[in-house]
């Protein structure tokens, strides 16, 4: 469409038309009152409706980019995407009796430019993400190293005192307690980091089995009581249901959650008490961990639920900042909920609710239990420090312990004895504990084999069970759990 044409006499009409068509050029002349005077070029490309372009049309109605612009000054706007989607380079040229607006279609050029810019921006964003991840890793390593070194320093220091020959002035019991307490702290920290790693790659699996409620809470108490004692904080458990209820739960993960919550409560309390209140109703188990600690400001409740998130006012207190977020993840995986109520300076209450099955009284289950007379256990373990410790635990519990520290010793012991159970190290010297288990069972041993393993992967547990193991016990060995589990299996 040509509204009015003022052809350059030096240019043939065909050349003019060719350029106009090829570049979709259009020119518009306005007077000083911003009314359209002439329009030339491929106008219909920009304004398909001819009624849009009339002599009554105001400049800013056609070209919103003129709003606020002084057209008496020459201007150039590259790559303007108009409201109708057309992309132009726009030129504004004063004429003395008004001004011209010239448009050149830049859609193709802009698309190419955009492709290049898009790639550049995406690469830059990815680089930033990698850089942020590296920074987070460095921060984690730095925090974790510090968290590891603190209890390790105590363990090394106190154990060195115990090895001194002239230790008459050394309080052996207090030092051993300090070593134990710091060991527990370290164990919980490592468990949290491993579990966080598994959660990050979505490899956490929930594994439920019947658990006596008091056994679960005794395990929690065993792990946290030394920390409470050290800070002179009163720790107690209040049962709002029967202690000997047996419920189907993921004992390991629930224990980890409760230990994390109680440890946090102790850590962030200077005095007072920390309690766990447990109730059971309608196939739902609820724990409320309450403290009289420093509390959390409301606006930081979201932050502390993030991995490595710490409330600002707690950053002077040691901690990796993963316990709470991990606990929340684990509770969610169990199909439960975790919520926090807190008041700054007054304390915090964390409520954990997990679904479970109908509660059964433990004594009802134990009615038919048979006592096994064979109290002989073969300990197949090659760690020279661990063997006397486990043997001591077993002998103190009334078991007759045989020891095999190599494959040949294992075979020799089995040739002469028929123990009720073998405690088999997963990484046994000269052999794989899983392969050895298969061999032993295939050779006719008819007792039970329980795998001892420091590995945390689910795959190893599955391999052990499919090799014929009756159970597995994780290292470090918890004395009470070890004895309870052995009794359960021997009386099964």
């Amino acid at each position: 469409m040509k509204v009015m044409t003022e052809n350059d006499p030096a240019m043939s009409e065909s050349v003019h038309d060719f350029i106009v068509e090829r570049l979709n050029i259009a020119g518009f002349s306005f007077d000083t009152e911003h009314h359209l005077v002439t329009a030339d070029g491929n106008i219909e490309y920009y304004f398909p409706n001819p009624n849009t372009v009339t002599s009554d049309t105001q400049a800013t109605d056609l070209f919103p980019f003129l709003v606020g612009i002084d057209p008496t000054i020459e201007k150039e706007f590259p790559y303007i995407e108009m409201p109708n989607g057309v992309i132009v380079d726009a030129f504004i040229k004063p004429t003395g009796i008004g001004y011209d607006v010239v448009l050149i279609d830049m859609s193709l050029q802009r698309d190419k430019h955009q492709q290049v810019q898009q790639i550049a921006n995406v690469v830059s964003l990815q680089k930033d993400e990698i850089s942020a991840e590296n920074e987070a890793k460095s921060k984690f390593i730095s925090t974790f190293s510090h968290e590891l070194k603190t209890p390790l320093s105590s363990i090394l220091g106190y154990s060195e005192l115990l090895t001194e020959e002239d230790n008459a002035r050394v309080n052996i019991s207090a030092n051993a307690n300090a070593i134990h307490r710091n060991g527990i702290y370290l164990l919980n920290l490592i468990n949290n980091v491993l579990e966080q790693g598994r959660a990050d790659i979505q490899q956490t699996t929930i594994s439920t089995s019947p658990v006596k409620l008091s056994d679960l809470l005794d395990s929690v108490s065993y792990l946290v009581q030394p920390l409470a004692d050290k800070k002179k904080i009163q720790f107690s458990i209040h049962y709002g249901c029967q202690e000997d209820f047996v419920l189907v739960l993921d004992e390991q993960h629930l224990c980890q959650v409760l230990v994390n919550l109680v440890t946090n409560s102790i850590k962030f309390s200077q005095e007072g008490f920390v309690t766990i209140e447990v109730t059971y109703a309608d196939n739902e188990l609820q724990f409320i961990v309450s403290d009289t600690g420093i509390g959390i400001p409301e606006d930081e409740l979201v932050t502390i639920m993030q991995p490595f998130g710490r409330a600002k006012h707690t950053r002077h207190i040691e901690g990796a900042g993963i316990g709470l977020s991990l606990s929340n993840t684990l509770v969610t995986l169990m199909g439960g909920e975790l919520s926090i109520q807190s008041k700054l300076g007054e304390g915090t209450a964390v409520t954990v609710t997990v679904p479970t099955t109908n509660a059964v009284i433990a004594s009802d289950l134990n009615g038919d239990a048979k006592m096994n007379d064979n109290k002989q256990i073969l300990l197949a373990e090659d760690d020279e420090d661990l063997v006397p410790l486990i043997a001591y635990y077993l002998e103190e519990a009334g078991y007759d312990v045989l020891i095999a520290m190599s494959q040949s010793e294992l075979k020799a012991e089995l040739a002469n004895h028929q123990p009720a159970m073998i405690l088999m190290d997963h990484n046994f010297r000269e052999a794989d504990g899983i392969e050895l288990t298969k061999e032993v069972l295939e050779s006719g041993y008819n007792g039970k084999v329980i795998m001892l393993t420091a590995s945390s992967g689910e795959a190893i547990v599955k391999q052990a069970m499919s090799a014929g193991c009756s159970d597995f016990i994780s290292k470090p060995i918890d004395r009470e759990k070890l004895i309870t589990r052995l009794e359960e299996h021997l009386n099964d």
């Binding site: 706007f77 409201p83 830059s124």
Partner: protein
């Protein structure tokens, strides 16, 4: 009705186009498509004093500095929205630098300081008190959820009309 030009500026991928799309069309796209040059949109509002105002919104391609071409884009703006991404701290640094360049180019006009992507974890610190003082409003938004988006444009329109 009065018509005013406003610009939206900030580093790339802070969500400038998404804020406009949410405000103008109430639409959000997860796909990131970088803006090259400038994209124009219009939207009419009524201020709290009853003034009808048509905003011509210049969505200027993101960058950490105001290049020559971008300097021409902000010419004649009555106000601007200065956007950073709360999950990328360096975009707040860019916003602070851009604000200084805009003042050099067009002088002091009202601007609203916007921390976008409020649905993500905040990693950027709070802006400097100096930048907050210069702005007529400071708001956190999420183009994804729409949270705070209309308030940004309304606040700037009020400030532009108030002069």
């Amino acid at each position: 009705m009065i018509t005013k030009k406003i610009c939206i500026i900030g580093d790339f991928a802070v969500g400038k186009t998404s804020l406009i799309n949410r405000f103008v069309d109430n639409h959000f796209s997860e796909e990131y498509l970088t803006t090259v040059g400038v994209k124009l949109d219009t939207k009419e509002l009524v201020t709290s004093t009853g003034t009808d105002i048509k905003l011509v919104i210049w969505d200027i391609a993101g960058a950490d500095e105001l290049t020559t071409a971008k300097r021409s884009y902000i010419d004649g703006a009555s106000g601007y929205i200065l956007v950073y991404d709360i999950s990328r701290p360096k975009t707040l640094v860019s916003a602070t630098n851009l604000q200084g360049s805009v003042v050099e180019e067009i002088g002091s006009v009202p601007f609203v300081l916007v921390g976008n992507k409020n649905d993500l974890e905040a990693k950027a610190p709070e802006p400097d008190a100096d930048l907050i003082d210069k702005s007529c409003h400071q708001l956190k938004t999420s183009a994804l959820t729409g949270d705070g988006v209309a308030d940004v444009f309304q606040a700037l329109a009020e400030a532009v009309v108030a002069g």
